[in-house]
């Protein structure tokens, strides 16, 4: 972002960056930056809080009054990424003949469909539709149990895209099932990897690919780095 600020400024457009990595804003020194120590992925801080979002924008636009730069100002509020799994019910076991994650993904379909109907758009679809999510989990289950990932039939042959689509399917469904306050910055990730059968399957398949000599990018980016 800070790099793009220099590019746009050079083209004659005044820029303001909402910085999320303070050290990078210091190093790249864009003309005007408001550093926002908010959860990564939420540069305006709080979903469904127009008042707070307007406060961020007002502080950003105020930097336009400066007559020289670079300008780097910190937003006074820090929002920590919530690191507790969100409270979200999961479907009961329905078909014990299936791997648990496949059964679970099938059980979440109605919640996913409600989410899609409400939002009108889904980010599932890099390499497969929602219909294919249970089967893809079955493939990851097989990989976790020893099948060579290159012959497992993963959609697109792309471990990373498959995991994105699975996690997106779960997270979009879960937004329809969450009890209590809105999930914080890491709460849904923690729920997926620490609470769901799908998360456990992804982690197990990732470990299996790693342990069988799969190249680093093939397995590493299947999950967040700290996993």
């Amino acid at each position: 972002m800070s790099v793009l600020a220099h590019v746009f400024e050079a083209a004659g457009i005044a820029t303001i960056v909402l910085s999320s990595i303070r050290e990078m804003a210091v190093k790249v020194a864009p003309p005007r930056a408001l550093h926002c120590e908010f959860p990564l992925g939420r540069p305006l801080g709080r979903p469904l809080d127009p008042e707070f979002q307007h406060d961020v924008l007002a502080r950003a636009f105020a930097l336009l009054n400066e007559t020289s730069g670079p300008v780097l100002v910190d937003h006074p509020e820090v929002i920590e990424a919530d690191d507790q799994p969100v409270s979200c019910s999961l479907p009961p076991r329905f078909d014990p003949s299936l791997p648990p994650s496949v059964d679970e993904a099938r059980g979440l379909r109605k919640a996913y469909d409600r989410a899609l109907a409400k939002r009108g758009v889904t980010s599932v679809g890099r390499v497969m539709s929602a219909d294919e999510v249970p089967n893809a989990l079955g493939m990851l289950h097989a990989i976790a149990n020893g099948q060579d990932w290159t012959t497992a039939g993963l959609p697109g042959g792309n471990t990373i895209a498959v995991c994105h689509d699975i996690r997106t399917y779960y997270e979009e469904a879960a937004l329809e099932l969450v009890d209590g306050p809105l999930p914080g910055g890491r709460a849904m990730e923690d729920w997926f990897f620490d609470r769901t059968e799908a998360g456990a399957t992804v982690l197990a398949a990732r470990a299996a690919i790693r342990d069988s000599g799969g190249k680093f990018p093939i397995w590493f980016y299947m999950t967040p780095g700290q996993r």
Binding site: E9, G12, T15, G41, G45, L57, S123, I160
Partner: protein
């Protein structure tokens, strides 16, 4: 250390280009300015081309569109905030409100989306796609951009 703390610590160590003699634009009065959003969230309209891993290109987003897909390839940040409220990444409704109140002059007709995970040298967005996107916004009469990172 939670995931955000780890990512911030890691990102702080990444190489960063230096800009000698950086440009500085004296902005037009905000109440008369046309404002656009530039995001690195890899958002794109649902019927537009998705982002590939390592994509150095950009997508233009018509100001009327709200059916946006998150096409970012990094698993290392929250993907759910933007599903709850597009404005937490792409504050299009907030800009519309500011235009209605007369705080800004106008909302630009088009906005720009890049993918945040770029090659370390960021050469393409510096020398090719970044200037091309800026030229597109200049054509639309954009005076000010607010850049939102992901």
């Amino acid at each position: 250390m939670n995931g955000d703390q780890m990512m911030r610590a890691h990102s702080a160590t990444l190489p960063a280009p230096e800009f000698a003699n950086p440009a500085w634009v004296t902005p037009v009065e905000l109440a008369k300015a046309t404002v656009a959003i530039v995001t690195s969230a890899a958002l794109h309209a649902s019927d537009d081309e998705g982002f590939t891993a390592g994509d150095t290109g950009y997508r233009l987003i018509d100001s009327s569109r709200r059916d946006l897909v998150l096409g970012h390839w990094s698993p290392n940040f929250d993907h759910t905030g933007v599903k709850m409220d597009l404005n937490v990444v792409y504050p299009i409704d907030r800009l519309e409100e500011l235009a209605q109140r007369g705080v800004i002059g106008a909302v630009a007709p088009r906005h720009v989306s890049f993918a945040g995970n770029q090659p370390d040298d960021v050469a393409t967005i510096r020398l090719d796609t970044g200037p091309a996107a800026a030229a597109a916004l200049r054509q639309d009469g954009v005076d000010i951009v607010i850049l939102t990172p992901v």
